[in-house]
Amino acid sequence: MTTSVKHLALFLVFALAVVAAQLFMRVTETEYCLTQLTMSVYYAIVVLGLCLVMGYAGQVSLGHGAFFAIGGYTSAVLTTYDFSRFTGAAWAGWLKQAHVFVVKEDLYGSQVMTTSPWAAFLAAMAGTFLIACLIGYPALRLKGHYLAMATLGFGLIVSKMLVGSALTGAADGINGVPEWKLGFGLTVSGKRAVRVENYYIACGLLLLLLVLLRNLVLSRVGRALQAIHDRETAANAMGINTAAYKLKAFVLSALMAALAGVFFTHYAGGIGPSEAGVLKSVRYVALAAAGGMTSLWGVTGMSTLLNYWSLRGLFGSYDHAVFGAILILIISLAPEGPLKPLEQKIKWLTRRMFADSPAPPQQKEVPIK
């Protein structure tokens, strides 16, 4: 089977699984679970982005929760902040003309002027792009421990600033984020009536990003990133501009996290400071490790499943401990991810059953120092 046929088959399987999950929940009358499933799909997008940085470019980031929060909070602040106090100003008039500002009635019937969700989305993406470039440029010149600490420090700064400032609602976060009309009759919102619709919006977004990532990974850029992951010095010597590629991968994955953050905020109707916390960032790393880091499908599946369980409260008060344990166990026992040995086993079994040929000798890992 060629790679493209295999990928096409996998995309079909994914689409079928998405529909099957929804139908299963409808039949068993557990459709309320779709809410958590939708949220886990948004989280899976963050983890997928992180894979690009960790699995492909081989750089660690302990600050991806911060990018999710930057996206979510920018969108939340802009769509809930009342700009009517600036009505007299010329720039407010222009922005209103350009439909960036929309006037509507709030709960109490008074007129408020807020930013439209689309404009807020663009602002969130632009802001994330800028911050990711500013942090990524100096940080990615560092390696290993230093890079880990720098990204961790960045995440902590963002989360402390969100808790400390009144504009972002301090420890309470922001509530009452309006729905987002995407066009084509689609609305991102947590209302019950559009629950199924939102599930498909989230899955559609995930599928779109998967296709894009898969193409990126199989392209020249993907091969360059892989080379950086394996031997950075060698890649550099081959004429790969390692610094530029690492920065591109970092910024792209930050944008994916922010994108998920914006959708998540509109879907959940709000966002809190815990989204930027260190434990969230570490959880993304754990999920990437659990999925095998370089396997886009493994990561998508594992992260959706584990987050879904976590959001359904399956792990109870041991939630964080479970993710910590996942990190330790997977890295120390199966650093390639638990799915890879499983996949090899299945391949070996099927070959034995159908072709009746002896198993090929196990490929020996060469330890990279």
């Binding site: 230093y146 600033m161 400390g164």
Partner: protein, 297 residues
Amino acid sequence: MDSGNLVLQYFLSGITKGSIYAVVAIGFNLIYSATGVLNFAQGEFVMLGGMLAVTLAHFTPLPVAVTGAVAAVAVIGCLLEILFFRKLRHHSVLHLIIITIGLSIVIQEAALHLWDEKVRSLPYFTGNEVSSIPFFGATIPPQVLWVLGTVAVTVILLHVFLKYTLQGRAMRACSSNPEAAMLAGINIPNMRTLSFGLSAALGALAGCVISPMTMTQYDMGAPLAIKGFAAAIFGGLGNPMASVVGGLLVGVLEAFSVKWLPAAYSDVAAFAIMLLVLFVRPHGLLGRPEGASVRDH
């Protein structure tokens, strides 16, 4: 209180906190130079030390409780090395980082379930909350003297240990050239275990002496680890004694940031300075730049 005394007060509170960061930074350095692992769970040793001492203090006199807690945490440190890092020495830096982070979360959650989320503290070693010693117009609680004294004695003892005893010299040999140390008959795995035990004991001791002032809570470890790392970076990673200066610097900067920034942002100031140092001088303010090599660890 006039402004001169206020400055002195800030300064004293800064060096008290800073001395704790210094101990955490020394712990980082000990493990890092012996094993090449940057132990993100370093702050957890401080938390565990405080928690265990508070619990033991219910049954035994204070000195016994503190000694017991330090010994227990040292054993935990050795066990972590034997269980996790001995086997994984050849793993990539990325993997080692992830494992120490996982350990830090699991220890933290274990503490949450063993104890609870309440804030607790050891009694003051001498005097009580209100007793204070006048000091050039500022006042200092006696516990500050305990903290500074303990840290000073520990640092001096550690210096003597590393410089003059056989074990200490073996440990330094391990960090400067493992192959040569092995050829000289030094048991490197045991030295690595010792470095974990020593650094855990140091952390636990810091956790005990600071507990009456800053309280002990299950989630105190992570911020301490980051600031300790900032201190280690200031001094230059791989140089335990320089991190004392680094620690005091971070503590004083943090204390004075309260003057200009809201209190909620004092951590932000410390982390922002750490980022700045990392970006501009990753080999530390006191370290020597050694070409690209510092960026390769």
